[in-house]
């Protein structure tokens, strides 16, 4: 429910609006249950050895990313205004750039590897 209209004085319209919110509430509860389930999954998977530590890290980060996607539901990101998405695209670009720099710095020290 992004930027819902001001609640109408008309009681019938208000009923409809409140009903719409009520539907969202059910969704939020389901997302909460999903997040709790995925937390248990994350913990359980960390005790399974997937061959290398790198594989375990990759799988844990994948589950964390799925959880992050679920939290986006709470943040109403499915239906936001274009400006918010633009801010997020810029943020994503710069944060990936930051991680990219770290990667480059790592290759800069052959003496360690």
């Amino acid at each position: 429910m992004n930027n819902p209209p001001d609640i109408s004085q008309d009681s019938k319209e208000y009923e409809e609006y409140a009903h719409g919110i009520q539907k969202h509430v059910r969704g939020y509860l389901m997302v909460g249950a999903l997040l709790l389930t995925f937390t248990v999954i994350t913990v359980a998977l960390s005790y399974v050895h997937f061959g290398t530590d790198k594989a375990n890290i990759a799988i844990a980060m994948l589950v964390a990313t799925i959880k992050a996607g679920a939290v986006a539901v709470f943040m109403h990101l499915a239906a936001e205004r274009r400006l918010i998405y633009r801010i997020l695209i810029f943020t994503g670009f710069f944060v990936l750039g930051l991680f990219w720099l770290i990667l480059l710095a790592w290759y800069d020290y052959p003496v360690f590897h």
Partner: protein
Amino acid sequence: MEIPYTVSTRPDTGLWNAKIGIWLFLASEVMLFGALFSAYIFLRIDAAPGTWPHGLLNVPVGTMNTAILIISSVTVVLAWAALKMRRYRAYWWYMLATITCGLIFLTVKLAYEWPQKFEHFGAYIKPDALAKYEQYLGNERRLEKGLEPRIEITGHLHSQNAKEYEVALDPVNAHPDDPAMDRPHFIPLPVTEKIATIEKADVQRATMFLPTHSAYFASYFTITGLHGLHVLGGVLVFIYMWLPVSKKIYQRNPEHLANRVEVSGLFWHFVDLVWIFVFPLFYLL
């Protein structure tokens, strides 16, 4: 002075102002935590063998705290929905639940998890003295199995004098050849009764589990500390919105309070999001 666009939307952006404000703020927060996470990655991939600890944190407690944050994320969005439906009483209760969850999270972190670390002791053994402490390290077997060597002896510092430390050993050093000790345990095992005497001359570095202990604990305390400050900030804002002073705003214009709850909720979800990555990185991997 009336602040514009707290409830109605600005024609050019299609949003009320606080919405853009919080997202810009969260963008800067992503960079802040991004910098710390990238430092973590850098430190971790460059860590010398045996220096990146596993299984030092209490996983059940961390899992519980994760669940508490998730529940608070649900209650804050329910608080917002309750305001939208003009159910102030329900809003009040959901907000109280959110505040309680935040306070439990902080209490567990500050009164239990951190102090437990401050009481734990670790001594890094000099490379040429490792063989001398083989009975506590079990490196011969680990070498055969292709595992990283153990270079640290941990436990509770019993006593020390000018020449040596007496340490009540952690199970991992008390039974180093037990294959069950090769992997972290879900339920942490208590410190054993077995005492080891470690000569100070053989020790490279000895410290409690403080930020000075290792790059691991330095990043753990920095990131969870900064995250904890965010939780505290969120709780303080929620308390303000839960107090009678906010009821006045509600009575004047319920949408105004609903919008305030929405933006602080967005911040809270971000804090939850950070924890979703912190928890596996520090507790599990």
